[in-house]
Amino acid sequence: MKKLKIAFFGHTSCKGCFFEFLILEKKILDLLRVSDIVHFEMIKEHNKEGPFDITFMDGAISSPKELEKLKEIREQTKFLIALGSCACYGGIPSMANLYKHPEKLVYPEPIDHKSIKVTPIDQHVKVDYYLRGCPINKEELFNVVKDLAKGKIPREKDYCVCVECRMRGNRCLFEDGIVCLGPVTYAGCNAPCPTVKAPCDGCRGPLPDGNIGEEIKLLKEHGVSKGDIKRMFRKYALTDKKFKRVKI
């Protein structure tokens, strides 16, 4: 069997999703049996150019250079995976889009600086799979490569975090008066946050058929102010139409 050529590229992000990959331990060695990591600047001195069978594209796009690079890599890639919520939705860096001139808030004097709108990668190129989350789930990453190595197209989970949370036997946080975005957020993480009684903050992004109206009603019933509800939805996926259209 011919080994899959895998590449990792990073744009605007914290690189935390790369570390999720590095903590796969022995599974990294399993992956190396079916694939060659040919491009990964964070850990490799010699990095090859394409073609690549699979590219993990980390980070949001926030500069013309990044955009150019993204398009170039797409051309060289068979199966492009958006790695993490920055690549999938713009993520935390896209919070800059809420400000007209974010640099003015952090810099006391006017400077020669051009702001660029922070965008997810699928606004520019076709994405074949979305590894959501801030950070991603390492098991999901492993399974995706395993599927592709077997010639199978991986499938995303199309239900909400609550399903996995209940399967872990957790008591619903709402019952204890803790508000949570689990009902409207993509599953696939296995609900690590509500398992330690920390509410889901929606890092995997909005589920297409999630009932946002009902979620907002629930939040209001629990005494969450309009401003706080707005802030909850404007965190990881504020470029997403579904969260953008939220009427509170």
Binding site: G10, G16, F19, E25, M42, E45, I92
Partner: protein, 428 residues
């Protein structure tokens, strides 16, 4: 020879992207620019008008490798603004998280970025067939350290259970016992790592950077303390703006910081130089056998300092976990009432002293944020070192020269994502 430029377009094996440009005037080095290519992410801007309790979960995303330090740092600064004093058990648990975070970060840097250079491999991936034991040790240490973060914090990267005033849930006795077992499992591997790094030869090169680390009673620094220089000058975290200044470099998205106008050095080597007396007993033995003479002024020895710290932090982790197992956890009720206030904190992140500073209004909205990361404090020294070290390499072939320069830069373990939270300046 006239004016010419030497460039390394893509420095590899760093946490994120950077470019090095050296300008020559004849044979003389005119200027050295370490250009950080990461885009700005404006954290200080978009924390404005967020609620106080969101500061930790947002600012932890400054960095994927030291997110524990940013999380705890952010919580501490908000607590200082509200005059909240967390309980001893909360502080102990936070220390455990920080320790696991330091271990994770050091392992990534030592094994995935630095070690291949020393052994003559392109990457750790290339080592997998030839240096089987080293690779397995690296993967084991990496897995266990993040597993400890997960057991306490709920997730291995970007933990969630640490909140203002305490924890959403404290680990059960069974979990604490697992944590203790995991720390103990790491001990041998940590020692082997330190013993390996002791043997590596590094260039005889020193710098005059002002070394700074936290000092707290008779503890090796981690969670809090005052800032102390190698010369013994000290100041409180709340006065940081009087001593630490931030500067814009037109070619870089990262800020450079200086201590009273001088280039500085923070991180494992500075911590070791300033606090070696408070290392665990086993670590002290190792230190003696390493033959390293303190204070050490060679930035290349930062890797060795990190590997020595691995052993110390494992010991410290064991000590704190045992203490918590003995005392058990009391149930705490966390009730926070936001009020107007200002809070500054300093803590030791893996790469050195980290500052978080917030001003919060009476509704609990953040109105001002300032974050100074360890790497921004080291960048000025990296450039200065390159300028001074490069003349020794000019006779080498380009490939070898690049490698030697990269070794110097990597020794600092610069975490390039961190200091780019500020601004981007374009120049044409």
């Amino acid at each position: 020879m006239s004016h010419h430029t030497f460039e390394i377009e893509n420095l590899t094996k760093l946490e994120a992207r950077a470019k090095l440009t050296v300008e020559f005037d004849g044979d003389e080095i005119d200027d050295v620019n370490l250009e950080v290519l990461e885009s700005s992410r404006y954290f200080e801007a978009f924390l404005t008008n967020r609620k106080y309790h969101e500061a930790a979960s947002i600012s932890q995303k400054i960095c994927g490798i030291c997110s524990v330090a940013h999380t705890i740092g952010s919580l501490k600064a908000v607590e200082n603004a509200f005059n909240i004093q967390p309980s001893e058990q909360t502080i102990d648990l936070r220390k455990l998280l920080l320790i696991a975070g330091h271990l994770h970060s050091h392992v990534v840097h030592l094994y995935f970025m630095a070690l291949p250079d020393y052994l003559g491999f392109e990457s750790i991936l290339e080592m997998s067939s030839k240096r089987h034991d080293d690779v397995h040790r690296a993967l084991r240490l990496e897995k266990i350290s993040t597993e400890i973060i997960r057991l306490i914090g709920g997730r291995p990267i970007h933990p969630v259970s640490a909140v203002i005033g305490g924890f959403t849930e404290v680990p059960s006795k069974v979990k604490l016992e697992t944590i203790l077992k995991k720390f103990k499992e790491m001990k041998e591997d940590a020692k082997k790592t330190a013993e390996m790094f002791m043997k590596f030869k590094t260039p005889n090169f020193e710098n005059d950077s002002v070394q700074c680390a936290l000092v707290k009673d008779k503890e090796y620094p981690l969670y809090d303390g005052k800032i102390v220089t190698l010369d013994g000058f000290e100041f409180e975290p709340k006065d940081y703006l009087e001593y630490i200044s931030e500067h814009v470099k037109y070619y870089s998205t990262a800020m450079h910081s200086r201590f009273k106008g001088k280039n500085m050095l923070v991180g494992a080597l500075a911590r070791l130089n300033i606090n070696y007396k408070y290392l665990s007993d086993d670590t002290k033995d190792l230190l003696i056998s390493s033959g390293i003479r303190l204070p050490c002024l060679s930035p290349f020895k930062n890797n060795l300092a990190q590997s020595i710290e691995l052993v110390h932090f494992v010991d410290k982790g064991i000590e704190i976990t045992k203490k918590l197992l003995k005392s058990g956890f009391k149930k705490e009720r966390i009730k926070i009432k936001p009020k107007k206030g200002e809070g500054v904190m300093a803590a030791e992140a893996p790469r050195g002293v980290l500052y978080h500073h917030y001003r919060i209004d009476k509704k609990g909205l953040i109105k001002y944020t300032n974050i100074i990361t360890p790497t921004s404090q080291n960048l000025e020294s990296i450039e200065k070192d390159i300028k001074e070290f490069l003349p020794r390499l000019l006779h080498l072939k380009r490939e070898k020269m690049v490698l030697e320069l990269e070794k110097l830069i990597r020794a600092y373990d610069p975490c390039i994502s961190c200091p780019t939270h500020f601004l981007e300046v374009k120049f044409v």
